[in-house]
């Protein structure tokens, strides 16, 4: 539970558009621990989805990951890759430094992705069962070391039924559908995506992500656009899967309520950077960054209807490089901003009271020995102290 599975260092993803360079993700570093749910929250355009897609290596032109390391805990792969000393550090492998083929095999098997809009992430002209079975099959073939050659393709083109998916894979797909609580899975496997409701399709999406027994699930806004009752079911399912399979979940969302319900730790993102990371209760009860505070203050509190809401003034900046404010990007909207804020861009530093809670704000109450955890000398020593065991730690 306290073992780090992924260590991301200085991830930087940019888009090179006609309007200019967009700094979608600017030097993000974090660890994801075994079996935890780490939530990345932020408003639209904060770069949280791009972070998730960068981990999956799904950035398409005109975008590109321009910098960063993505260390993945895989002793087997590390042992295999003896000829790439740069890409290996102990049991960790830098996914960004390995060959594209190895990277692809990791992204399909060890990392599963749940997309925001399941309606767009399923091919409309293949049945849901078939598509999940494809994921199963890809994984099985990879395990057996089989490749898919031209002769296979010819057979697929010429025969009316696909020869790619074996009956066993299809059966496994039905099992997966049952696993995510889809009623009558055998019949639903033969239906097309448009015959599914949004909630059911999201469950099918999760089933597809589970096809390869992933170690890490990246869930990109898995409940957006769903009704609350359906959304609650999906969150419940994710929590259940985390316990059953031991997979870590990187939950990308804008819904603070969902975060409070399920996440062990929370990372708050603003303008392409992490501005605060820490245990969820800690971040929600004692926010150290004025932006986090503002975000929480913007939410109507259900159980105290008379509590006033205090909106953050202004708008989320767009991420065009030449339009970004200098220094701390939240400074123009920040009630506590001083001249200093526009001069320096703050780094994540542990707060004084709790080293598992880190914040990027020069006005926050930062631990005295902050300098020692700068990224320069951290190789794979987790930069975040491990997540507390669920419910074991009480905060003062």
């Amino acid at each position: 539970m306290t073992e780090s599975i992924i260590s991301v260092r200085d991830l930087t993803t940019r888009f090179f558009t006609d309007a200019g360079q967009v700094n979608a993700v600017s030097g993000v570093s974090f660890d994801l621990y075994g079996g935890e749910v780490l939530a990345v929250v932020g408003e639209s355009g904060s770069g949280k989805s791009v972070t998730g897609r960068s981990l999956m290596d799904l950035i398409e032109p005109p975008g590109a990951i321009v910098d960063g390391e993505l260390w993945f805990h895989s002793p087997e792969l590390a042992a295999d890759l003896t000829d790439h000393p740069d890409a290996v550090d102990g049991d960790f492998v830098d996914v960004r430094a390995v060959s594209p083929a190895v990277r692809r095999s990791l992204c399909g098997t060890e990392f599963g992705m749940i997309f925001q809009d399941p309606g767009a992430a399923f091919n409309p002209s293949l049945t849901v069962g078939e598509q999940i079975a494809e994921a199963v099959e890809c994984n099985a073939r990879l395990a057996r070391g089989e490749t898919y050659g031209l002769s296979n393709l010819l057979r697929d083109v010429l025969s009316p039924a696909s020869s790619f998916v074996s009956p066993e894979s299809f059966e496994r797909a039905v099992d997966l559908l049952e696993r995510v609580d889809i009623p009558d899975p055998a019949a639903r496997a033969d239906e097309y995506p448009h015959q599914f409701s949004g909630g059911m399709l999201q469950r099918a999406m999760i089933a597809q992500a589970l096809a390869a027994d992933p170690t890490v699930l990246i869930a990109d806004e898995p409940t957006t656009g769903l009704d609350v009752t359906i959304q609650a079911g999906i969150i419940e399912l994710l929590d259940e899967l985390r316990i059953d399979t031991g997979a870590s979940i990187l939950l990308i969302t804008h819904n603070l309520g969902v975060v409070a319900d399920i996440a062990d730790r929370t990372a708050v993102m603003y303008a392409g950077e992490f501005v605060e990371v820490g245990p969820t209760d800690r971040v929600f009860d004692h926010p150290a960054n004025p932006y986090t505070e503002g975000l929480l203050g913007s939410l109507p509190t259900f159980d105290d209807p008379n509590a006033p809401i205090t909106p953050i003034p202004g708008n989320v900046p767009n991420l065009l490089a030449h339009e970004m404010p200098p220094g701390c990007s939240f400074a123009p909207r920040c009630p506590a901003a001083t001249d200093e804020c526009t001069a320096t861009d703050p780094e994540l530093e542990p707060v004084a009271t709790d080293s598992s809670h880190r914040v990027a704000c020069i006005h926050a109450d930062i631990a005295a020995d902050a300098g020692s955890s700068s990224l320069a000398d951290s190789t794979l020593r987790p930069i975040d102290t491990p997540a507390p065991e669920r419910g074991d730690v009480a905060y003062e």
Binding site: D227, T229, A232, E236, V258, L295, P300, T310, P311, N315
Partner: protein, 450 residues
Amino acid sequence: MSNEPAPVPQDSPGRTAPDRGPSAPLLRVDGLQKHYVDDQGLADWLLSNDPGRVRAVDDVSFDLYRGETLGIVGESGCGKSTLARTILGLHEPTAGRVEFTGTDVHEQVATDRKRFARRAQIVFQDPSSCLDPRMTLREIVREPLDIHQVGAKSHRNETVADLVERVGLSTDHLERYASEFSGGQRQRIGIARALALDPELIVLDEPTSALDVSVQAQILTLLADLQAEFDLTYLFISHDLSVVRYLCDRVVVMYLGRVAELGPVDRVFEDPSHPYTRILLESTPGRGARAGDRKAATTDIPSPRNPPSGCRFHTRCPVVVPPETYGAAFERDAWPGILEYSRQVRAGRFDADALATLADRHGVDPEDEVALERAIRDRCSIPQPLTDEIAEDLLGASLAALVSGDTETALAMLEADFASPCAATAPPFVEVGSEHRAACLRACEQDGER
């Protein structure tokens, strides 16, 4: 800007809330229905196909009083947006009436839409679609003034500038096109446009659901300020219970075109009488309940095209009323298990494959029907045997049919022998507290006991 005469108080037949004194409601919705009927071609007529019918709004009644904010909450397909548009006369109702200060809205709209337009306006949900992209901020906010020829032309630009400043936008941006504003700013423009004619009622159709949290907060505080300043009445449509709780005085909870519960926000949300309201509250994220603690109704919401019989919520309801025929202990001991059993049969969870898996898991021979029946009862937590003998016999027959592979008969038997009154009768709308009403047979029982 205000030149609307004060509405004449009307007699209201017995439905006025006691603490509002003799004042008549500003808006009264009475038995409103809006059904969409599919187009029927020649071929359908020849093949005598029944045209499809979407019961978007099906018998909705409530009153809206001057100065209050009434929330309408519900999930997608519950008909809340159709309701709003029908109230404003944008759709012709299939049945029922909407009265605005005592006069029928649809008669008024048919004869003089403009007069009604000055009394009721709407703010829309989608910031990308609510403004004409080819118009500037000035043109958009001026448009209602131009249509109604309010004041002198030169005066209108001043009114526009006032409105724009009042909603928190800069008059420097008057000549900008709608597409150049952010989502939150567009929503402010939409509000300024709605205010231009100085209406009494503003319908807010999910005005913040497409906005980020920090912007939503800006719009919510703006709406609250404007209400106090211009003495507005709001009909606030939303799916977000926290927002409704923050902004509204009373709330209508809708499910599949019908009103499930209605009452003051505090009472409805703190002591809900309808199981659907309870589930909505439990599902609302961030209320401290950890995932896994709730019993959310995770099954799909049925389609308003083919709504369930009786109480529309009974297919997802955790507290369906048991049939009356069996003994008193039946509900406590046997009913939850039987309910679970019938839901699983209906969902196809006991087909041949599933039975084989079940047998395997329980370590019994799949050919051994008695053992298999026991496994099913185990899985659905049905006690063995039921205290009521008749019930036991009937359940046994259904189980026997199921393990012999005849799922259809098993289901038919269940539906005949263990039919809940919830599936048969639509519950009446009963008083469960002061000004607090709900449509649930359970609530009726309490009502009867009182």
